[in-house]
Structure formats: structure tokens, C-alpha cells
């Protein structure tokens, strides 16, 4: 490294396809220094982190996982715009040695845009298990790009990678003498012609030759950009030329793969022998239309069992030992004015308590989720459920966020990011609030237990089935009549199974929990304080409060379901968080005699109890979910629609249920 080129701070972008271990490398290098946010204006995660080496500060950026740089998806657009606009000092292409062919395609595209490229050849151990041997030096020679063998999972080769990045930074800026792909005379002529039709400077900041190629590849974003920048007289000529050479997209891709094959011929020493890999053996069951479904159900069953058998006791422990104690403690502080005690204990603490009680359950959910994702199973689950999801206009990938919704709707809404079709994603977001979350189920379980004794479990299961049935119906209707557009076709890679990386899972879980507290926690806290205030104004007695007035306002609707104003207040308070219903009822009924069950039976007939369960399970999503939906759909339109729709839906189902049941009871 020449003395003159001493750079104190450099930017390094990590590029690569999904499932190549890019995140593992990123985590190993940046550790806890990483910052997770969103790309501006996009709902795609933006991860940055810092690594120090020999007095050099390397700012790492983890680009979204992409197979190519043609804007087929938001991720691809983000990745290439980052390369073009932010011009990182070095781009590290992380490749999976076990499917090098596929991964080199991205390299073929990166060569065009990245000034300095270093290849991290990851998962060499997996490749070896598959009987694939790769000569990384030969690959490096024929690409004329440094190739560093890495086994990220075992933390091998990262030091060398960093050293190579540092060395690469010292080389002169601009293109190294990387061999560009030769596209052959025929297609080169076509590309050159498009190039000549483009005015100078019109393509900035994209390279002109690259733009010409993307136009031919049918890249809609580039096409739109050029169309708006070009004069009305010049565009038709280009447009008709592009239409005439529509098949160039296929030719270019084919030539790129031919280039990849040439590279493979040099680099790959041994082809795979025809032995059945572990992945294939597992997939015989995991992707089978019937067995695969059983496997999915079994895996989910174990996951829920784990979450609840570990998470719930922890949650209860925290509740009793932390929340209750602090509350008692606050009330012992007699020098505080009473209103302040009430504010801290019932407003702030109950809000914080709600958030806190979520965390143990969510922690295990996120961990289980990250575990399944890292093993490679999630794409199999998407595959086996695709056929059902299709009927609802959804995508195989929609299944997973919906499953997550049973834990909590908030991460489920964020989880829809894995769906690449915008339409299927919107549909999934809209359906998520109809998945009964743990909060809803807690209320259902308590009320059902109070009324139906040993049949409570059956009633609870019935409620789950009811809400899923309604979810399916609403999905069908939305898909057919409300949201326009065609359902998108499924196409996704099924990665090889591998042993999950516990460190990575820990990191992902931690980030998700943090994001939950930041995004949902603050909203829950704010709204619970607000509701507490409504319950206290004007004289501190909930039965005369503004909240009670609101409940009385809704009483006429409630009466149709056999619910008095207290039940309506309890229902409305579920807007803060679903399990608040019970707490609110507890506060309001505390004046009357008997235990909670007796108090409930005094104000509810059995048919009204059923109606209440129905309303509770279908009622508007909690405020945190609404906030999440607002963020993910980028506006108030959909959350507002959901609020109105689910309120009407809940009443529309519960009223006939109550009326029918009373009729039935009467006779």
C-alpha cells in the first residue's frame, strides 16, 4: 500500500444473493456497533456497522440480498442505486461456494458498477460436503478480482478478507483491469446502437453503456427515467428499437450465464457426484404436498409449545416480581400526591408492563423465527402453503408472517417484508389483524373459563377457527373485488439446509426486540397513559369518567349484543393492547361483590358472553398494530380502512350471534 494513499476512513458495501451468509459476515465484522434502520422512504432494512483495522475505519454497509441488479424488486433497486449514488470505496461480493454458478451472475453485473471488487467465497465447508472443490486462486486469476476463501460460520478467513479490502483500497481508483464480459459482436452492436441513441449526460449518474444494457434488459425503472428525460421527438426512435430487440434481454442473460460457465470451468475442480444430499433427503418430506404440510404443522406446534411453556412463565414472573412490586412500592411513597401515584402506577407502569409482558413471548417467537429462517426451512414452508395462499391472492411467503401473527400482530406486519410482490404484501398486511394474537387469546381464555368451565378450551378453539374462517373469506373478497391487480407468480430459491448460526440468531432476535420496543412500545405507553387519563377525568372515578361516557355512547350498539356500557369500555380499552380488556373489567367491577367470575356472570348472560368473545376476537387491532400498518403501508389510508372495517365486521358478526343464541335459548 503506497504511503500517499493513506485513507483514514473507507466505506465498504457487502453485496450478495440471499442465503449466502452475508449477514453472518456482517455481524462478525461489526458486532454490536451495527445500526439498523430503514432505507429512506423504503421498507427495506438498512444495516451499517463499523470495523477498525490498523488505524483504518471501515464503515460497512449490508446491501439487501439480490440475485441481480436489474430492478425486478425494491431490493435490487436499492442495491444498485447505492453503488451508483454513494460510490463505496470497495464492494465485497459475498458468494456461496455451494451454488457458485448462480452467485457469479451477480458478479457479472457488479463488475459493471463497482470500481473495486473483492470476492468473499463463503461456505466452502458446505461445498466440500457436497463434493464440490473450488480453486479460488484460479477463479481469482481468470476474474482478475481478489478472491478470499471464507467460512463465516467458523469465523475463518475474515482477517484475510479485511486485509484484502485494505490492500484493494490502496490501488488506484477507477476500474482495475477487470475483464469485462464479452457479449459477442451481434449483441454488442445492438447495445452500441442504443448507446448512440442516448444523448450524453442523459443517463447520469448511471454509466451510459450500462444504461443501454438495462434498457435492453427491460428494466422498467431505467426505461421510465430515460423516457422522462428524453425529448418527445427522440424517444419514439429508441422505444421502437427497444421493442424490436425485445429478445435482447434473454440474450444478455444467456451470455452472462455462458460467461459464468467459463469461469466455473476454470474454478470448479470436481463436479458433484450423484449422491443424495441431506437437503434432498429432508426435502422429500418437507416439500411433499401432504407430508410437508404435516411437517409444517408439527414444527409450528413445537414452536408454540416452546414459546408458551418457556415464555409465559417468564412473563408471569416478571409481572409479579417487577410490575406488581414496583406498583406496591409507588403506593408506599406517601409523600407523593395521590394523583401522581395513580399516574405512575396505573398509567405509566401498566403501559410499560404491557410492553414488558410482550417481550418474553416475542423473544422466543423471534428466536424461533430466526432459527427456522437460518436453517433454510422457511422457504419450504412457503412452498408447501403456496397452493392454499394462492386462492386468497397471497403468496407462499404470506404464510409465515400470518403464523407469526398468532404471537403478536405487530412483528407479523413487519414480517411481511419478505414478500416481494407489493400486492401480495398489502393483502397480507390487511389480513394480519384477523389472526388471533396471544393478547386476544388471553382474554378469550379468561372469559371462556369463567363461563364455560371445562368446555372453555373448545370455545377458545372455536373462536380461533371462526376468526381464521373470516380471514379466509375476507381474503377471498379483497383478492377478487377490492385490490386490483393480478396475483403474482411464486419464484424463489430453496437454499440448502445448514446448521443454524446461534450468534446470528441472537443478533437478529435482539434487533427485532429492540425494533419492537422502539416502534410499538412507545405507542403503547403513550396510549395507555392517554386511556388512564380518560378514565380519571374529571374526578378520578372510572365510572363517571370520560371513558365511561364513551362507553355509554356505544351502549346502544352493545345492547344488541347483550353488552352493557362497562363491557363496551372494556372492549374499547383493548385498543391499547388486547389483554387490557381484563384489567379494565377488573377496575370497573372492583366495587361489586364476589370474585371476578361472579362479577362477570352478574353482568353477562351466557349468550352475551359468546357475543363478547366474538367481538373481542374480531375487534379493531391494537394501537401498536395500527402504528405498524401505518408505517408499512406508508400512509393512513389502509390503517383507517382497517379500523372502520374491523369495527363493523366485529359488530356485524357478533350481533347475529347474540340474537340467534338468545332466540335459541328462549325456545
Amino acid at each position: 500500500m503506497p504511503e500517499s494513499a493513506k485513507v483514514k476512513e473507507i466505506t465498504v458495501a457487502l453485496a450478495g444473493a440471499p442465503n449466502v451468509g452475508k449477514s453472518t459476515i456482517f455481524n462478525l465484522l461489526t458486532g454490536l456497533s451495527q445500526h439498523v434502520g430503514n432505507w429512506p422512504g423504503k421498507t427495506v432494512e438498512h444495516k451499517t456497522g463499523v470495523f477498525h483495522h490498523n488505524g483504518l475505519t471501515m464503515n460497512f454497509i449490508d446491501l439487501p440480498g439480490t440475485y441481480s441488479l436489474t430492478a425486478n424488486s425494491v431490493e435490487e433497486q436499492i442495491a444498485r442505486d447505492y453503488l451508483v449514488y454513494e460510490t463505496p470505496n470497495v464492494v465485497v461480493a459475498v458468494l456461496n461456494a455451494a451454488s457458485l454458478e448462480r452467485n457469479l451472475y451477480l458478479v457479472a453485473e457488479l463488475i459493471e458498477l463497482a470500481p473495486r471488487l473483492v470476492i468473499a467465497l463463503n461456505m466452502l465447508d458446505v461445498a466440500e460436503q457436497q463434493g464440490i472443490k473450488i480453486d479460488h486462486e484460479a477463479l481469482s486469476r481468470s476474474l482478475n478480482i481478489p478472491v478470499v476463501p471464507v467460512v463465516a460460520r467458523a469465523n475463518r478467513g475474515l482477517r484475510e478478507l479485511v486485509t484484502r479490502i485494505e490492500q484493494e483500497c490502496g490501488t488506484a481508483a477507477g476500474l482495475r483491469n477487470v475483464k469485462h464480459i464479452e457479449y459477442g459482436s451481434e449483441i454488442t452492436e445492438v447495445i452500441d446502437h442504443v448507446n448512440s441513441l442516448l444523448d450524453d449526460g442523459i443517463t447520469g449518474p448511471y454509466p451510459k453503456h450500462w444504461t443501454a444494457m438495462k434498457l435492453l434488459e427491460g428494466d422498467e425503472q431505467i426505461n421510465k427515467m430515460i423516457r422522462t428525460r428524453m425529448t418527445a421527438e427522440r424517444w419514439p426512435e429508441l422505444d421502437s428499437y427497444l421493442i424490436e430487440h425485445e429478445s435482447a434481454a434473454v440474450t444478455i442473460a444467456t451470455l452472462r450465464y455462458e460467461w459464468v460457465e467459463r469461469m466455473m470451468a476454470v474454478a470448479q475442480q470436481k463436479r458433484r457426484v450423484g449422491r443424495v444430499s441431506l437437503t434432498e433427503r429432508i426435502d422429500r418430506i418437507a416439500t411433499h404436498p401432504v407430508l410437508g404440510l404435516f411437517m409444517l404443522i408439527a414444527i409450528l406446534g413445537v414452536m408454540y409449545w416452546l414459546v408458551f411453556s418457556i415464555g409465559v412463565p417468564i412473563q408471569e414472573f416478571l409481572d409479579i416480581n417487577l410490575i406488581e412490586r414496583t406498583r406496591d412500592f409507588i403506593y408506599t411513597l406517601s409523600y407523593m400526591p395521590q394523583w401522581l401515584q395513580g399516574f405512575l402506577a396505573d398509567g405509566v407502569l401498566s403501559g410499560a408492563g404491557t410492553v414488558l409482558t410482550f417481550i418474553p413471548i416475542l423473544f422466543f417467537f423471534f428466536a424461533a423465527w430466526a432459527f427456522l429462517e437460518d436453517t433454510g426451512y422457511t422457504s419450504r414452508a412457503a412452498f408447501v402453503t403456496d397452493r392454499f395462499m394462492h386462492a386468497l391472492g397471497l403468496h407462499g411467503k404470506s404464510c409465515l408472517p400470518l403464523v407469526l401473527g398468532f404471537g403478536c400482530n405487530v412483528p407479523a406486519v413487519f414480517g411481511t417484508r419478505i414478500i416481494d410482490s407489493p400486492r401480495a404484501r398489502l393483502l397480507t398486511i390487511l389480513l394480519t389483524p384477523l389472526v388471533p394474537c396471544t393478547g386476544r387469546m388471553a382474554v378469550i381464555a379468561i372469559i371462556a373459563a369463567a363461563f364455560f368451565g371445562s368446555a372453555a378450551v373448545l370455545v377458545s378453539i372455536g373462536m380461533i377457527i371462526l376468526s381464521l374462517l373470516i380471514l379466509a373469506i375476507v381474503g377471498l373478497i379483497l383478492n377478487r373485488f377490492v385490490i386490483r391487480g393480478k396475483s403474482s407468480a411464486l419464484i424463489m430459491e430453496l437454499p440448502l439446509y445448514h446448521v443454524p448460526d446461534l450468534k446470528l440468531i441472537g443478533m437478529v432476535t435482539w434487533q427485532n426486540i429492540l425494533a419492537f420496543i422502539k416502534r410499538a412500545g412507545t405507542v403503547i405507553l403513550a396510549v395507555s397513559i392517554l386511556v388512564w387519563m380518560l378514565a380519571m377525568i374529571p374526578n378520578g372515578n372510572i365510572n363517571d369518567s370520560v371513558l365511561a361516557d364513551i362507553g355509554r355512547f356505544f351502549e346502544p350498539v352493545g345492547r344488541l349484543m347483550g353488552l352493557n356500557w362497562q363491557m363496551m369500555v372494556a372492549l374499547l380499552s383493548s385498543f391499547v393492547a388486547k389483554e387490557n380488556t381484563i384489567a379494565t373489567l377488573g377496575v370497573m367491577l372492583s366495587g361489586s361483590s364476589g370474585d371476578f367470575t361472579q362479577q362477570l356472570k352478574a353482568i353477562l348472560t351466557p349468550s352475551a358472553a359468546v357475543a363478547f368473545l366474538v367481538v373481542q376476537i374480531l375487534f379493531i387491532p391494537c394501537v401498536a398494530t395500527i402504528a405498524a400498518i401505518r408505517q408499512e403501508t406508508e400512509g393512513w389510508k389502509w390503517p383507517a380502512l382497517i379500523l372502520v372495517f374491523q369495527m363493523l365486521l366485529a359488530f356485524a358478526v357478533a350481533i347475529p350471534v347474540y340474537q340467534l343464541l338468545t332466540l335459541f335459548q328462549g325456545t
Partner: protein
């Protein structure tokens, strides 16, 4: 008179809706040969009767009962067209106009009689499906010929625009429903070079946009190759990718995942329904069935 006009409008909206939804007043005015204000008036009337949903500036779309009514008219129209060609031996470019008049004067009994005489016909002479008496119609994927990418082998499905001049021209070329042609090249102005019964001809893009077609498997005797869709490949079989019938959106995705012509593809799992699992360029990829149907391949002996 009134009901006749209503039926005309419903029919026009029905026919337009594949191309635009909701159907704009301007295109209805053009189709029916009346002024735009007259169309707007009539659409209001139809909306009041619950036959259409109408939003000014957006256009009209059929309601459930509107669609039922439209399908009944379409059925009578297409039955009459069949009758006129098959029984009376009229030319196919003349029957549309006749049927337009007859369809409004057809009692249920006559309709029944027509369908009895004609026996089992399911399309009109122009290739469009005839709805059954309950109003069910066979849904077909009618892709305009102009939307196919060359090279492609396609079967003509229907002619969408019943203009006598166009129909005569098409008949003269022999491009009747069912004819199999190969699209060899797409020209700069959108016209297509096609091969049909050993002759080569050029189809202007207006005509090409009114003909609908579907892709057909190619059987080439010279190389003994049989092109099938990826969806037809059995589990365990290998094949070479030939072509794409899909639109641009899914094309880019397929290409970047390695579905390039000439690539070898192995069907890992195909259970006749639902998505299929294939291995291409050393990776397993799941593809939805619809997309798999659009990728044509040639079986490879392994």
C-alpha cells in the same frame, strides 16, 4: 326499445372489460357510435337500475346482475352468429350485424331452439366462448397476438374486433380460429412477420392486436424435439429451457435466477397441482404453476 338499448350497452361494457376496467365513456361512445353525453346519460340510468357501478371520470363496470344480463345477451348474439354461418351459410363478416338485431328479439323459446339445432357448439364463428344457459362462460387467457415475443408458435384463438373489412382480410389470409402460426420476428413498427402454412407474411400491428392467441407446444420433425411446458415435466426428468411466454415482469426474475434458454433444468418435484420444484444452475428453485406453464422446455434423455 328501451331494453334493447340497455342490452346494447351492457354488451359493449362486457366486451370492453378485458381491455380496460372500468370501461371509460369515451371508448363506449366509440364502440356504440353515439356521443359521449348520451353515453353518460345512459350509464346513469343503468346505474340507477343496479346494473353497473359508474364513477364519473373513471368509467363503468358491471354489477352482478348487470353481468348476468350481459352474458344472456352475449349468449343469444353468439348463438345467432353460429346459426347464421353454420345453418344459413352466411359469411362470417356479415353475421355480427345481423346478430346485433336478432339478439334483442329472441324469446327464451327461440334461444332454446337455437341451442338445440346447433347442438354442442361452444364458440361463435369468431372464436369467442358462448356462455351456457346459466350464464357460465369458459374463461380463457386471451393474449393479443401482438403481445407475443418472437419467436413463438401460437394457435389463433379469436378475433376481437368484428369489423367486416378486418374479418374479410383475416379470412383471406386464412387466419381463422384454430390456425397455428409461427411468429418469427417482431418489427420496429410493431408489425409481425409470421409463417403460416409454408407462406411468410407480415401482419400489421393493428390486426395483430385484435387477434388473440395461445402458445402451443412445438413439434419439430427435423430435430425430433418436442417442446412442452415446464409444468408437464415429470419429477426426475431433465430438460433444456427453450423459451418464455411470460410477461416482462416475471421474465427478469426468471433470467436472474438462471432460467436462460439453453440451461439444463431438472424437475425435482411436480405433483400436478401447486408450485413445482426444479433444479437449475446448481440451486433448487420453487416456481408457481402459472409461471411454469409459460416456460417451454425440451425433454432431455438422462
Amino acid at each position: 326499445m328501451e331494453s334493447e338499448r340497455i342490452e346494447e350497452y351492457l354488451e359493449a361494457i362486457y366486451k370492453r372489460r378485458d381491455r380496460e376496467s372500468p370501461v371509460s365513456t369515451s371508448s363506449l361512445a366509440a364502440d356504440l357510435g353515439v356521443s359521449q353525453p348520451a353515453v353518460t346519460d345512459m350509464l346513469r340510468t343503468l346505474e340507477n337500475r343496479g346494473l353497473i357501478d359508474y364513477k364519473s371520470r373513471m368509467g363503468a363496470s358491471l354489477t352482478r346482475s348487470g353481468e348476468e344480463r350481459a352474458l344472456a345477451v352475449v349468449r343469444r348474439h353468439r348463438l345467432w352468429e353460429r346459426f347464421l354461418t353454420d345453418v344459413l351459410g352466411m359469411k362470417w363478416d356479415k353475421v355480427h350485424k345481423e346478430a346485433c338485431r336478432l339478439e334483442h328479439a329472441t324469446s327464451p323459446d327461440i334461444e332454446k331452439g337455437l341451442s338445440t339445432i346447433l347442438g354442442n357448439v361452444d364458440t361463435c364463428p369468431h372464436g369467442h366462448a358462448i356462455p351456457d344457459e346459466k350464464g357460465n362462460i369458459k374463461q380463457v387467457k386471451n393474449t393479443p397476438l401482438s403481445a407475443f415475443r418472437a419467436p413463438a408458435k401460437v394457435r389463433i384463438f379469436s378475433i376481437d374486433y368484428e369489423d367486416p373489412k378486418l374479418l374479410r382480410a383475416v379470412e383471406k389470409l386464412g387466419l381463422l380460429p384454430g390456425a397455428i402460426i409461427s411468429v418469427t420476428k417482431k418489427n420496429r413498427d410493431g408489425s409481425l412477420d409470421i409463417g403460416f402454412q409454408n407462406t411468410k407474411l407480415t401482419l400489421d400491428n393493428v390486426t395483430a392486436s385484435f387477434l388473440t392467441a395461445e402458445q402451443v407446444p412445438v413439434i419439430s420433425l427435423a430435430t425430433d424435439e418436442c417442446e412442452i411446458s415446464l409444468g408437464e415435466l415429470q419429477s426426475g426428468e431433465s430438460a433444456v429451457i427453450k423459451n418464455f411466454g411470460g410477461g416482462r415482469g416475471s421474465l427478469g426474475r426468471c433470467l436472474s435466477l438462471g432460467f436462460t434458454p439453453g440451461s439444463i433444468i431438472k424437475m425435482v418435484e411436480n405433483y400436478r397441482r401447486g408450485p413445482v420444484l426444479v433444479r437449475v444452475h446448481d440451486t433448487e428453485v420453487a416456481i408457481g404453476r402459472q409461471l411454469a406453464e409459460k416456460i417451454s422446455v425440451v425433454r432431455k434423455e438422462s
